[in-house]
Symmetry: C2
Subunit: 159 residues, 2 copies
DNA sequence: GCAAAACTGTTTACCTGATTAACAATACAC
DNA sequence: GTGTATTGTTAATCAGGTAAACAGTTTTGC
């Protein structure tokens, strides 16, 4: 079956590999992640939302009345860690904690009009930042990257 | 030119996209990075090297007699932040700070035999962790991922 | 020659993001 | 009803990182 395909020449490319480090996915993932985050913060500027706060706001806008516990689960963080994030968003008047009739434990998170507007504007800025930073990647490369990242991300499901 | 290619069906796939968040590279990059790092730590266990300490050791083994300043530059961190990492590696007797004849400011980092051995063993463990975690990705997918991450990473050069 | 500038390793103070453990209030199982 | 589970919260702690200052040591520019 397919006896003599020549694949050897693809195994190594002659870019000078500085050390084994360069061949590890984790190391390159970290460096790429740091570069993106740095540019994200620069794009949103002083007083702008941090990546995690933006993520939380995004999910609250997409899922109004979500509880903090559910939001924490979606973000993959502990609910104790979410408190400060929600405090921040509430201080900015982007959402409010509101009582839920049926269950007095939970406080549903509802975005304000200002919150929805701010989210929309910020999303545009964030998308512009990604378009700029990833200008060297073609659309199909970006698609591929997203698929691969998603695959790796979902590895973490069971924990 | 190419008047009616049907690309529309590729634009959106019918996985339920929870929010805009899922469409952002940065968010998925972070989630994937967190998943990998978590698995890395689990693979190396209690008392094992942290990712950043492993990275530093890798570069010292690959470049014996490197200075701390050069190492910090390679890692993309401040040299003040490197001190604790080198302290750790020196405490484990994996390297030593040694005087350099020509310049009394620098202390060259030289790996010990134990350091080189530990690095080799750890590298095998790390590679096994990545192979396991990324088992769902084909070899060519891994290659593609590395190329794309490298491209993004190099965006950060000028800073 | 020598003053000014630059570089090296280091400490200190601080920041961000995150976790764990505990807690009071509330709801649910049966 | 009693025991168990869940919610939001605080407090303590940690990991990783930055920025500013510092003493000691070259290097540069005349």
């Amino acid at each position: 079956m397919a006896p003599r395909t020549v694949t050897k020449s693809l195994e190594f490319e002659m870019t000078d590999v500085v050390s084994d480090l360069e061949t590890l996915v984790g190391y390159n993932m970290k460096r790429a992640y740091v570069a993106i985050q740095k540019d994200f913060r620069a794009a949103l500027g002083e007083g702008g939302l941090s990546p995690r706060t933006f993520s939380a706001l995004s999910l609250v806008v997409a899922h109004p009345n979500i509880s903090q516990s559910d939001l924490a689960r979606m973000l993959g963080i502990e609910r104790s860690g979410l408190v400060a994030i929600i405090d921040d968003l509430e201080a900015r008047k982007f959402l409010s904690r509101t009582l839920v009739p049926g269950d007095r434990r939970v406080q549903a998170l509802v975005p304000t009009k200002a919150g929805i507007a701010a989210y929309g504007a910020t999303l545009v800025t964030v998308q512009a930042h990604e378009d700029r930073l990833l200008a060297d990647l073609s659309t199909s490369e970006k698609d591929t990257l997203m698929q691969l990242l998603m695959k790796i991300r979902l590895t973490d499901r069971e924990s």
